[in-house]
Structure formats: C-alpha cells, structure tokens
C-alpha cells in the first residue's frame, strides 16, 4: 500500500484514512495489557507509529521530534475494538457518518470498529460495500471493518452474494436490527459459510414473541402499560441457532445478549462444543428496565434493558468468559427522532464515547469485575472477527489509549463527538476519561487539554494546541 500508515493497519479488511505514524513518548503511565505480563508503570516510546520501546519509568530519553505525554497516574491499555456499531452510512448521515462515528469511537478509546450493514441501502451488494470501503479510506479516523447482510435487503428471503462480498472485504455477515426468522434461510447461510468464510453474527429475536413490544416484559412494563418483549423472544432463538450451527458445524456469533436464559443457552452451546460466541453491551451490563420508568426514550433499544437478575447473569457471563466480548451496539438517532413519546421513538442508544467509563465506574469501581477483565473483553471482539488483537508490545503498531481513571465527568456536559446525543448514560457522573487514542499508529483522538511537551528540536509544528484543536472539531 502506498499510504504512509498502510502498513500500520493490521488487516486488509480494515479501512481508514491513511495518516503518518506518530512519534510519541508516554512517560510513566500504568501499562495494562491483559494478554501479557505488563501491569505496572512504564515509559512507552512510539516511533513512526510503532511501539519502539517499553521501559522503566524515566528510562527512555525523549529524542528529537518526539512529543512527550506525562502519563503519571494514568493508564495505557490496548485500544478497544468494538465488534458492533452503526455508522449510518450510506443513507442516514444526519444521524452519523464515517467521520463522526469513528471520531466518537476514538474519543472512547477504540482503535477499530465493525460497522453493521443495516444502512440505506443495505450493504448487500459488492457495489455498496465497495463504495463504503472507499468512503472509509477517505473519512474514517480509526480502522473500520464491515459486515455485509446475510439476506438481500435484510428481508430474510434470499442470500446475498456472500462469496463476492467476502472477497471484496466483508469480515462477516449479519442481518442485525432484524433476526433471520426462517430457520431454513439461516441454515443455507451457515452452509454457504463453508465457501465464503466469515463469521455469521445474529440478532436474536422471535418476532412472534416480541411483536410490537417496546421494552422488557416485566413489572415495569406492567406499570407503564407498554407492550413487553419477553426474554424468551431472544433466548429461544439463541438455542435454535446454536442447534443449527451444531448441525452445519458453522461458526456463529450472538449479538447483544440481554437475559439470563440467553446466557444459559450460550453456555450450553459452548459446553457442547459448538462454535459460538457472544457479546453484551455496556448498557445491558449496567442498567435495568427500572430506568424506563422515566419514559425517557434514551432508554429504548432492542434488545431492551432487562431485570436485575438478567444484568447479573450478563456480568457473571462476562467474568467467566461465556460472554466473549463487549460491544456497544452504538446506534445513533437524531434529536427530533428521539424527542417523541417512548412508543414512537426508534430503538437504539449511542455508546462508543462512554463504554469504558460506564463499565469502569459501574463494574470495576464497585468490585464486580477486574479492570483487566474489562479491558480484555473490550478488545476481544477483534479476534472473534479474525482481526489482530491490539497489544502493547514492541514492534506492534500503536493501537492504544491513555485513560485517567480518576477523572470524573458528567456524560454529555461538553456535548458529544457523535452526531447524535441519544446516550443512555447522559447526565450520569462517571470515572475514566479517555485522554488519547492511537489507532493504526496515528493520533485518532487527543483530549484538547492534554498537554504534550515537544522535545527540543521540532517544536512548533505539532504543538498540543494544534493537535487538540484538530481532535476537538
């Protein structure tokens, strides 16, 4: 590849704007790579976008042209990878586009995201996927991978040209937003996977059970008079599709699991040796249907927020590894679309900018999960989709984030980087502010007030102000 950072994008199926590799020294930050031995303060030197040296604090000299960031009392983690985001391009750019969506990802510490194909038009042909890849090369601030749809137009009737889509760059397939209702249809897709490869990711929902439901079926829906979506609308489909995967020896991934019964079905499938994996979202891990009592449409999403018992099962599943990874299901909607009565509002919440802080505050600070577990699960989506896992290791492209765990902030106080403000954590006080994100060796996000001191010689051209103003656009 001709682009300067081409070699730094770790997979031919990830696409972003080429940027020059950065020269940066992060001094004294607590480096935590859950897959390695690192779990103490270090100096980390990045040269030309690659991790050049990791050494004891104050052991690495700041050479000419290297910016220095004081990482004292801050943490460096491998950059997060989100296997489930909606970037709304093509067709719904008023909600989000590749630029704003990946900027939001970078602001949340993500160094790569996987975009869903339920756009307008659907990503169901090589033509649509090809133009999207070109757009990503132009606009994406962090590498983006694309899923194509399993069926044309998400109608659940005919398979897409999965082999061609895969050859062009699709890393997998999903009809996310909708279930593949027909078991026969899904079976054909699973058979076809032997030819085209790629993970098949499933939004699990039996529409005959969810019907016109808008929230979890339980005491709160009874109180509010809102139509409920029972948990078994999801879990029965998880069980059905695990059985199909077993029969066809296929590889499937269950998206945004929300309830006890689904975690049990996933555990049973894994115990039976079926090639399945699962994800859970920060909002399902930290909120319950109790917040819907406010009838605030920020709490409307599919699957819905469920009961405390369900939330606990998701946390347990995440801890044990039954649930493999965290996925935000970042789903932006415009203000005017959400500023309507609950039943009329579209399903979906944003999450890229708050995922780490929400999980850190609600699950790590409270002692439910180890910090290393959260970091591991926030990066584990990469390997599931066959993408390289970000590591803090010498020689690796710089895919990392610098986070101040002590920094406290109110969500939304400075607005959002995403084009849409429908964040489920809006107004909450959280800990864990992202200060800097490096993706594919380049600065993808730098918090405006993050001070860097330039080393003696090349000073002015890359001052903190310039970089900050750019990131703050």
């Amino acid at each position: 590849m001709a682009s300067p950072s081409g070699g730094l994008i770790a997979s031919p199926k990830l696409f972003c704007t080429p940027r020059p590799g950065v020269d940066l020294l992060i001094r004294g930050a607590h480096v935590l790579d859950p897959r390695g031995e690192l779990d103490q303060p270090h100096d980390v030197l990045i040269r030309d976008g690659r991790i050049a040296e990791i050494g004891a604090v104050q052991s690495i000299p700041a050479d000419d042209g290297v910016d220095v960031v004081d990482g004292t009392a801050k943490h460096v983690f491998p950059g997060f990878v989100d296997p489930h985001v909606h970037l709304r391009t093509p067709g719904q750019e008023y909600k989000e586009d590749l630029d704003t969506g990946t900027a939001a990802a970078a602001a949340g510490g993500y160094c790569a995201v996987v975009a869903m194909p339920n756009t307008t038009p659907t990503v169901d042909t090589a033509a649509v996927l090809g133009s999207l890849i070109e757009l990503a090369r132009r606009d994406a601030r962090v590498p983006v991978g694309f899923l194509a749809s399993i069926t044309r137009g998400l109608r659940g009737e005919e398979l897409t040209e999965m082999a061609e889509l895969s050859d062009l760059g699709a890393i997998g397939f999903t009809d996310d937003g909708k279930p593949v209702v027909s078991a026969g249809m899904l079976r054909k897709a699973l058979q076809y996977q032997r030819l085209c490869g790629g993970i098949i990711a499933l939004h699990e929902e039996d529409p005959t059970l969810s019907q016109d439901g808008v929230m979890h079926e339980g005491a709160v829906s009874a109180r509010l008079g809102l139509a409920g979506i029972p948990s078994l609308s999801e879990s029965t489909m998880v069980a059905r599709d695990a059985a199909l995967a077993r029969y066809e020896d296929a590889r499937v991934h269950f998206q945004h699991l929300s309830c006890v019964e689904s975690v049990q079905a996933l555990a049973a499938a894994k115990a039976a040796g079926i090639r399945v994996s699962g994800e859970a979202s920060p909002h399902h891990l930290t909120l319950t249907d109790d917040v819907v009592r406010t009838l605030d449409s920020r709490f409307k999403m599919n699957p819905p927020l469920r009961s405390e018992a369900d939330r606990r099962a998701l946390i347990d599943g995440l801890r044990s590894g039954i649930i493999d990874c965290i996925a935000t299901d970042h789903a932006p909607h415009a203000v005017h679309e959400k500023e309507v009565p609950f039943e009329q509002a579209p399903m979906g919440v944003t999450g890229l900018e708050t995922a780490f802080a929400a999980l850190y505050t609600e699950l790590v600070v409270s002692g439910e999960l180890e910090l290393a577990t959260v970091v591991e699960r926030m990066t584990a989506g990469a390997a599931l989709y066959g993408l390289p896992t970000p590591r803090i290791m010498v020689g690796e492209p710089a895919n990392l984030c610098l986070i101040d765990l002590e920094a406290r902030f109110e969500v939304g106080e400075d607005g959002y980087v995403s084009r849409s403000p429908n964040c489920a954590f809006h107004g909450r006080t959280l800990f864990g502010r992202v200060l800097l994100t490096l993706a594919a060796g380049a600065v993808a996000y730098r918090r405006p007030m993050l001070v860097t001191t330039a080393a003696p010689t090349h000073a002015q051209s890359r001052s903190a102000q310039t970089a900050g103003a750019e990131a703050d656009r």
């Binding site: 339980g218 009874a222 109180r223 009838l295 309507v340 039943e343």
Partner: protein, 310 residues
C-alpha cells in the same frame, strides 16, 4: 391538609393520599356549584385552558371543556383531525405553537404513553394527563374515587375487583394506584391473555376467574375492545362474555358496578346490569365535571391556605 399540589397531573403517583383527598374535597364544593342554576364561578377568569386531544373521546373531552368553562376560563379545544397535527407537525412543535398563547393549563390525551410528561418539559403551562396510551388516566381514577367515597364514605378496606382487559387499560392502572392508595384491596380479573405479567407489582392481586367475585364490594368493569379480538387475545367476544360478563346472575344486589365507558352492551356488562340501580355509571359521568374543575382549580389556583379553609 397542607399538602402541596404538584405542578402537573401526569400520574396518580403525583398525588399522595392527602393530595387525592384535597382534590376530592374541592370537587365536593364544585359539585355544589354544578347544582346551581348559574353553574359558573370566576376562579379562572382571563386564563386560558387548551384541550389537546389526539384520540377520540366523548366524556373526557366534554367534561374537561365544561369544567374549564364553569371556572370561567377561555377554552381552546383541538382535536387531531383537521389540525396541523394531521399535517405531520411534531408534538413538540405543536406545544411550542400553543404555548405562544400563554395557556395556564394544557390538557392532553394521546395514544402514546409518556406524551403528557414530555409536554410538561416543553411548556410553562400546567399539564394535565387526560389519558396517555395504556399508561395512565389520573382524572378518571380521581372521579372513580370520588364516586366511591360518596357511596361508601371511605375506601379503606373496600374490596374492589377490576374485571376485563387490564393489559390495554390506562384506567385500570390509574385505578389500581388510586384505590390502593386510598386503602382499598384491589383484585384484577380477566383472561390470562389480557392480564399483564407481574401486574401484582402495582399492589393488587390477580385471578383468571370470577369464582370469588362474591368477595367484591365493588366490581369495576373495563371496556372490552373489539380490536383485541382480531389480535387473538380472546377467541371470541361470545366466549369472553360467557366467562367474564358482569350480569345480575353473577352479582348480589348489594355489589356495586362501575365502568369508565363507553360500554359494549351485552359484552362486558349485561344490558340489565347497566340500567340497574347498583350501577354507578351515571354518577361517574356526573362526577367527571366536578373532579376536573377541582383538578384545574388546585393546579392553577389552589394553595395550602385555601385547602385548609376547604
């Protein structure tokens, strides 16, 4: 009686027991006004009340209109048919437009749960929920409590059964909350397909049969909507009526019957029962005007000092 009134009436949860009693006491004095030859007091003279109805309504809209007029307010009534609402205007824009008239109160009925609450965030006016989706209908519950209080003196330990389609009933939800808050024991009864899972969380019991209907002092019958049948919640209205119709064979003459209207004669209630002296349906309608006058008055004028006088 120094209880503070809320700024809006969105849910029965906005009122504690003392607040409900305060509204009912005020309604008693307005009931007296309704018995006069000139049924009007100047309490809201020069103030504007907007009635915004996004759903068909006879009783609620006419009684709110009459209540506001008897308090001498200027009244604007808007129905979705023929208004800019039909031209695709958003609820927020409609409220912004109406708020330009500086109304003292906006009364809203909407097919969507939470609509009144949203409106309260967009206007300076006091907002009164006249029914939002299947969520709540607080003024209906207040007039039901008013009717029962007049009949029994108090709701304490009164045994009230609510029979029918609870799932789709905002009246049932507000009534369960109001009746239990006033000390009554509430049981909901209906086909299992029309009783929400975990309805007991609202503080009532639930049963699928009328077997123990003899326990009830009051049987509150809900409207069975025909469209529920097409959605297969019940196999047929015939089967529904056979199991759940409230008629004189099923009740003793001392058991009181209520219904929020409009009634499907011969479905949830027998024709003879509707017209019998044990039915309080006419009292409920009559109470509607006095109770809605009281709600408007308490939200817009009432103060703890005045309440102490009442």
């Amino acid at each position: 009686m120094s209880t503070r009134m809320p700024r809006h009436l969105i849910s029965i949860d906005d009122l504690d027991r003392a607040g409900i009693e305060r509204v009912l006491d005020r309604a008693e004095s307005f009931a007296e006004v309704s018995g006069r030859e000139i049924k009007k007091v100047p309490a809201l003279r020069g103030r504007t009340v907007v009635n915004l109805f996004y759903e068909a309504s006879t009783r609620t809209s006419s009684s709110f209109e009459l209540a506001a007029k008897r308090l001498s307010a200027d009244v604007v009534s808007i129905r979705s048919a023929g208004s800019s609402v039909d031209k695709g205007e958003s609820l927020k824009d409609t409220i912004r437009t109406l708020s330009a008239y500086d109304p003292a109160a906006i009364v809203i009925r909407s097919p969507q749960a939470g609509a009144a609450q949203l409106v309260a965030g967009w206007t300076e006016a006091a907002v009164i929920n006249a029914g939002d989706g299947k969520h709540e209908h607080p003024t209906q519950a207040l007039l039901d409590v008013f009717t029962l209080r007049r009949r029994f003196g108090s709701l304490d330990r009164l045994n009230i059964w609510i029979v029918g389609d609870v799932t789709h009933s905002r009246v049932a939800r507000s009534d369960i909350l109001a009746f239990t808050r006033m000390g009554a024991d509430v049981t909901v009864c209906g086909p299992p397909t029309l009783i929400p899972r975990q309805i007991e969380a609202l503080g009532c019991k639930a049963t699928p049969t009328l077997d123990h209907i003899a326990e009830a002092d009051v049987v509150y019958v809900l409207r069975m909507q025909h469209e529920r049948m097409t959605q297969a919640f019940v196999p047929s209205l015939r089967e529904y009526a056979a199991r759940y119709q409230i008629n004189q064979q099923r009740l003793r003459p001392d058991q009181v019957v209520m219904h929020p209207g409009p009634v499907n004669r011969g479905v949830e209630l027998s024709a003879a029962m509707i017209d019998s002296p044990q039915a309080l349906i006419g009292d409920q309608v009559k109470a509607g005007v006095a109770v809605r006058m009281a709600v408007l008055y308490e939200l817009l004028v009432g103060s703890p000092v005045l309440a102490a006088v009442a």
